[in-house]
Symmetry: C2
Subunit: 128 residues, 2 copies
């Protein structure tokens, strides 16, 4: 899989420079379920809306933008991950009432993305 | 002067890529006097607070950030301009009640910076 080619540590370092290049007091909308409510299904339950929020974030930047380009790499990563996962619709429906809508400052948002990528990597490893 | 070495057109194109790399719905605080109230003194009246707002903006980014680096180039430009101008304190004091505090979205903010740089360039040319 893509994660085996590009180790997750490279992605984490790209994520860190992307984060530093967005104003720290910018508020990014999220739609998510916290770990303690999602348990083992945290990755499956959050992949769809995380990809969605990254898409919205990408569109806040112009066509000639390193931030937009970096975000699109993570979007592609999540898309591949989601396709490998099969349908997440049923489980999302089951957990419907657990979803929260918030706006997070840049650091918190990218900490979430980082946690997500690490959890997805661990999940893939244990699924192998 | 610095402006003669680096034509203002290069600065304008750097400004445009910087603008595209900041979220378009981000709000940037400004403290300014509009052209119609400042007349011939527009550049002198706005140089100080513009430099100040660029300093604040630079600090919204991390240490490893292309945006922060690009902003610091404009800060340096304004500092040199201001030093060449001599003291602006007295005229700022005279126009004190004309200053406005607002928060502008990225495009409007960088349009202001662009207008300012062009006006400063024209002023320098006519002062030569
Ligand atoms: Ca794997």
């Amino acid at each position: 899989t893509r994660f085996d080619v590009n180790p997750v540590t490279d992605d984490i370092s790209r994520l860190s420079s992307l984060r530093q290049n967005i104003p720290k007091d910018y508020k990014i909308p999220v739609h998510y379920i916290p770990k303690e409510e999602a348990g083992m299904c945290w990755v499956q339950l959050n992949v769809y809306y995380l990809e969605d929020s990254l898409q919205d974030l990408a569109h806040k930047f112009g066509n000639i933008s390193s931030n937009r380009r970096d975000i699109s790499i993570f979007i592609q990563m999540l898309q591949e991950l989601r396709l490998n996962m099969g349908s997440v619709e049923l489980i999302m429906y089951d957990f419907e009432c657990h979803y929260r809508k918030e706006r997070w400052q840049t650091v918190r948002y990218f900490d979430f993305v980082k946690d997500f990528l690490i959890a997805a990597q661990n999940k893939e490893d244990s699924d192998d």
